[in-house]
């Protein structure tokens, strides 16, 4: 018997080759169609906003990790993802210094104060956006398209009852934040992530499905509600954040349902035209509870 070849270890015995940085950079690649769409519709402005946001996020991460005496991990791409996602939620007319404030808050208050990647209870990009929304409400709600000031489709719908053509919504020729205009570009990127297996489909399915069904029940045009506003961007990229979403299958359905429900409530009866950001942030707070109550039973466990 050749005993030297027997290695006794505890599980896991099969390891994936994926790493944090590989996944993060793949997410960045999957955001490229949305970035290109933003540049197509808003030209140079979009480039400047995205660059400032990414630089701000990476610089904040670098400064924080240096001050705290931790290993500097700006190369893992997680700050870049936050920067790009934040930029995609901002209106094209926003001053660049505001973008810098937002990305510093996103990484500083949204991520690093909780202990860095893996410890943040909220999606950092949405924390940055929520802060900007409360700090500079006027700057955050000035929209532009083709050089003209305009309102977003949801705003037009809520305040004046004007419906925007669904095809325009789908390709993205509408007023709105950089990344929420083109649902098409977001879906392409998401398909790539699905193909790579880096994203769970249950949260977006639950969230978008809930919005579709509820708007249908309340007599709205469900297709309009799917493609208007930031539902696609939020459901596909923000709600699925690996750190701040539930880990169990049923928990993910529940998370998606809750976020969708809040979106519909805010859109139909709330003061704001759009509720995706608040829907996701509120459900983020419920994630530990959801994880606890949807924990699958271990094999052979007796209750």
């Amino acid at each position: 018997m050749n005993n030297e070849q027997l290695i006794v270890t505890s599980s896991p015995h099969v390891r994936a080759t994926d790493s944090v940085s590989k996944i993060m950079w793949t997410v960045v690649i999957s955001l490229l169609p949305a970035v290109l769409a933003a540049v197509y519709y808003f030209s140079f402005r979009a480039v400047a906003i995205i660059l400032v946001s990414v630089l701000g996020a990476v610089a904040t991460e670098y400064i924080f990790q240096n001050v705290r005496g931790k290993e500097v991990t700006i190369a893992d791409g997680s700050a870049v993802v936050t920067g790009v996602l934040l930029a995609l939620t901002l209106p094209p007319t926003i001053p660049l210094w505001t973008v810098l404030v937002g990305s510093a808050v996103a990484i500083g208050l949204g991520k690093q104060v909780f202990g860095g990647l893996g410890h943040n209870p909220f999606n950092p990009a949405l924390v940055g956006r929520a802060f900007l929304m409360a700090a500079y409400p006027v700057l955050m709600t000035t929209w532009q398209l083709d050089g003209q000031t305009t309102a977003t489709p949801l705003n037009l719908f809520k305040m004046q009852g004007i419906m925007t053509d669904v095809w325009q919504l789908f390709v993205g020729h509408i007023g709105g934040s950089l990344g929420e205009t083109s649902a098409f570009a977001l879906l392409i990127g998401f398909a790539y992530l699905l193909y790579k297996g880096y994203v769970n489909w249950r949260i977006p399915a639950g969230m978008i499905g809930t919005v579709f069904l509820l708007t249908l029940v309340f007599g709205q045009n469900p297709i309009f509600h799917l493609f208007a506003g930031s539902l696609m961007l939020g459901a596909l990229y923000m709600a699925t954040d690996m750190v701040s979403s539930p880990v169990t299958k049923s928990g993910r359905w529940l998370f998606g349902f809750g976020a969708g429900l809040i979106v519909v409530v805010i859109r139909l009866w709330g003061g704001y035209p759009e509720g995706v950001m608040y829907g996701i942030l509120l459900m983020n707070t419920a994630v530990p509870l959801i994880n606890r109550y949807t924990r699958p039973r271990s094999l052979g466990e007796v209750k």
Partner: protein
């Protein structure tokens, strides 16, 4: 003897600062520190009530039956809060208006009741005075600092004096309740770093 008094006094200023260390009295802390002036006024009002009630309670502590001590404390505190309430309304009507409901609410400020229970009811009058001054001033400087930060970022001014020019776009969130939570959280963090190193 004198050293003990100084320790009682210094305790509330830093080591057991009611806001940054004990994290009590959060209701006025978060609600009225949107400007420097409000923070300072709230701090002084609380200081006065704390000092007066600690003096009275430590003087008559032997007369209060322990079964009804909490209602007795509340009654004494409420008396002094009424003083403050009428005083502010008579002499500083604008401050009274902006603090509004939070002046009567000093009655149930857990800092004040907590110090009666934890200190004044067990210690002689002179030590209670030192404790009340320390805790009250600790509360006051924390509230004033919080108010100054929020007013500076939220309106670009301090004590109503415009410091930053028209180029500054005020961060509206800082004068909203959310700004209180954010600045308080960051200040507590900074305090922890300072005392760990000091």
């Amino acid at each position: 003897m004198a050293g003990q008094l100084i320790n009682d006094f210094k305790n509330g200023l830093w080591q057991e600062n009611p806001i940054f260390r004990l994290v009590i009295g959060m209701c006025p802390t978060l609600a009225v520190t949107n400007t420097t002036e409000n923070g300072l006024a709230m701090g002084i009002a609380t200081l006065f009530v704390l000092l007066s009630s600690e003096i009275v309670i430590s003087t008559i502590k032997k007369l209060i039956p322990s079964n009804v001590r909490i209602p007795s404390y509340i009654l004494i505190i409420a008396t002094f809060v009424t003083f403050v309430d009428y005083f502010l309304k008579a002499f500083f009507p604008s401050i009274a208006a902006s603090l509004s409901l939070f002046v009567p609410l000093i009655v149930v400020n857990c800092l004040i009741l907590g110090r009666q229970e934890a200190f004044a009811s067990k210690n002689p009058v002179h030590r209670s005075i030192a404790d009340a001054l320390g805790m009250g001033l600790g509360f006051t400087w924390a509230l004033t600092l919080l108010g100054a930060i929020r007013e500076f970022l939220g309106m670009g001014s301090i004590f109503g004096l415009q410091i930053l020019g028209a180029w500054y776009k005020p961060m509206i969130i800082m004068v909203l309740p959310a700004g209180a939570f954010i600045s308080l959280g960051i200040l507590v963090g900074i305090m922890n770093i300072i005392s760990r190193e000091g």
